[in-house]
């Protein structure tokens, strides 16, 4: 059975959930071979085995974290040449798509991004135009490179664990790939919340929240149910919440199990980033707000009344 390369998304030895999702998917397409960049592969080995990884290509050079995208694409290109995989799966995150883009150019391969499903024939399903249309497509040149949307596949441990044999990989990184050097990392994310695109639950606030201080209310709701916090463009443009948390057409696309929209009217720009969420709950005082069209459950009411009561009720249920 041919290998299917899976680019691991991880922060140190903390493996992001999307990596397990991709390995789970790769099991249905061939033999999962994880590609791990930077240190930490040995620590993650057992967990990758649990999800069925047969191999872990471990390229432990720190350079992979010190330069923008290009070294990772070079590594994958060298593995395509040596391992002749049936396909390459990467997370459809901003960086994952960029790696995939460079890799497609390098290897003369076709590229599909934002896939939500891939079948055994490597036919991929993609929602486009903010989820209004669903396209199935196939790659016809080179090695299929498919970027898979986080939260699209549910991660499931393999019936029998994989060997997850660590294969040390030392590909030389070219000078050209070191042209854009990362000289500093600034972490602005608050607390222990899950990452926005990875989270199973997202709670977002919009114009109705009113100001930056009131976002504490959105955060308290998020924290009561282990959710990530998002914001509409109106809220990020107003400077109430940092721009990297914007959900929408010019921000992040999320498809969590549960999306809670608080004080968000639901302009098309916002819907494009969240309408493929599995369950949608809406809290808004305007009964005419278009976001209610998407709601599985909606409360027409003042968020400053409804949200604190909801947080209380969640806490009561948790402690009972």
């Amino acid at each position: 059975m041919a290998e299917v390369l899976v680019l691991a998304d991880h922060s140190g030895d903390t493996v992001k959930k999307v990596t397990y999702e991709l390995v789970t998917l790769a099991r249905t397409l061939g033999e999962p071979a994880v590609v791990w960049t930077g240190p930490g592969a040995a620590d993650a080995q057992a967990r990758l085995a649990e999800y069925g990884a047969a191999k872990v290509y471990a390229a432990d050079s720190a350079d992979y974290d010190d330069y923008v995208v290009a070294p990772k694409a070079e590594l994958l290109a060298s593995l395509i040449a040596s391992a002749a995989p049936a396909a390459v799966l990467v997370p459809s995150t901003a960086e994952g798509r960029e790696i995939a883009g460079r890799l497609a150019v390098k290897t003369g391969s076709g590229l599909i991004t934002d896939a939500t499903a891939v079948d055994g024939e490597l036919t991929a399903t993609q929602p486009i135009f903010g989820g209004a249309i669903v396209v199935t497509s196939k790659i016809r040149t080179g090695t299929p490179i498919i970027a898979v949307r986080p939260n699209a596949v549910s991660p499931e441990p393999a019936p029998a664990p994989g060997a997850a044999d660590i294969v040390p990989t030392t590909a030389d990184i070219s000078d050209a790939a070191k042209a854009a050097k990362i000289t500093g990392r600034v972490v602005q994310e608050a607390g222990e919340r899950p990452e926005l695109t990875e989270a199973s639950i997202v709670v977002s606030g919009g114009r109705g929240v009113g100001n930056a201080d009131n976002f504490a209310l959105i955060e308290s709701l998020a924290d009561s149910i282990g959710a990530a916090v998002g914001a509409s463009r109106a809220a990020t443009d107003a400077g109430w919440y940092p721009h990297q948390f914007q959900v929408g057409q010019t921000g992040k696309t999320v498809s969590p199990q549960l999306y809670v929209a608080v004080g968000i009217s639901g302009a098309i720009q916002h819907r494009a980033g969240m309408q493929t969420s599995k369950t949608i709950m809406v809290i808004n005082k305007d009964p005419e707000a278009p976001i209610f069209e998407l709601a599985d459950y909606g409360v027409v009411g003042d968020l400053f009344q409804v949200v604190p009561q909801l947080v209380e009720a969640i806490k009561e249920r948790a402690s009972s």
Partner: protein
């Protein structure tokens, strides 16, 4: 500084966007066409850098004849001149082919800095800056929320999930921008009048030295097998808060096993 800003004409998000049944490509006639929103931030950044450091801003757009409207808008914001790559054989090109065609034109035109919007509102792939960097062998400085340059080197704040990375490189380079970077200007009346006289060079594939067999739908790296409208969402339960809205909402979350 010689700055080239890549601009894409896209269907307006507010109009209904569809694919054509015949070849599964974007139905450009069905929707109003506008300049890709993030590209306006790219134009603004180009103009600000040219104002600060001197130099020219050239707009580069690949697209059908109609894209000339978006090019005029970019010129009315203050760009100096434009190149329009237009050829029927380009129709249906994917991002990989588009990056090859744009790279060929950029190589021919020369540049110190290429600026793009970080993604388009129609395809939303966010790959073009990476692909151009790969093809042209110049540094990739994408998802920039801030750009600083002294004309020789360049540094950006690259927006990430956790905040940002500072990234440094030498020019020439490719930059893509996020909307946090600036506030695009509106074209002034004077700008709109002046744009009518600004030079727009129209290039065919032959002019740009691009093999027509390498671009277009027939040579694309992927093909659409089928497409359909997503099924509409089931209508949900809407309640009005009578003092117990939060408790009812918690009940829904419990019923769906979220809490």
């Amino acid at each position: 500084m010689n700055i080239v800003v890549c601009v894409k004409q896209v269907p307006d998000t507010w109009s209904e966007r569809t694919l054509r049944a015949a070849d599964s490509t974007l139905d450009r006639d069905a929707a109003d066409a506008i300049i890709n929103e993030l590209d306006e931030y790219a134009i603004e950044e180009g103009l600000q850098l040219a104002e600060a450091h001197g130099g020219e801003v050239t707009i580069l757009s690949m697209g059908p004849q109609r894209a000339s409207e978006s090019i005029r808008k970019a010129l009315s914001m203050g760009a100096d001149k434009a190149i329009h790559l237009v050829d029927d054989a380009l129709a249906g090109s994917d991002a990989i082919q588009t990056s090859a065609a744009l790279a060929a034109v950029l190589q021919r035109a020369g540049f110190d800095l290429v600026i793009l919007g970080s993604e388009s509102t129609d395809a939303r792939m966010g790959v073009l800056a990476a692909m151009l960097s790969e093809r042209l062998g110049v540094p990739q400085l994408s998802f920039a929320a801030k750009v600083e340059t002294d004309g020789k080197s360049i540094s950006i704040h690259r927006q990430t999930d956790y905040g940002y990375d500072t990234v440094e490189a030498s020019l020439p380079a490719i930059v893509s921008v996020v909307e946090k970077i600036n506030e695009p200007r509106y074209p002034s009346f004077k700008g709109i009048m002046a744009a009518k006289k600004k030079p727009v060079e129209t290039l065919s594939l032959a002019d740009a030295g691009i093999d027509p067999a390498s671009v277009g739908l027939a040579a694309a790296g992927s093909e659409v097998v089928s497409f359909e409208k997503a099924p509409p969402r089931q209508a949900g339960t809407i309640v009005t808060d009578d003092g117990d809205g939060g408790i009812k909402a918690a009940g829904f979350l419990a019923e769906r096993k979220f809490i």
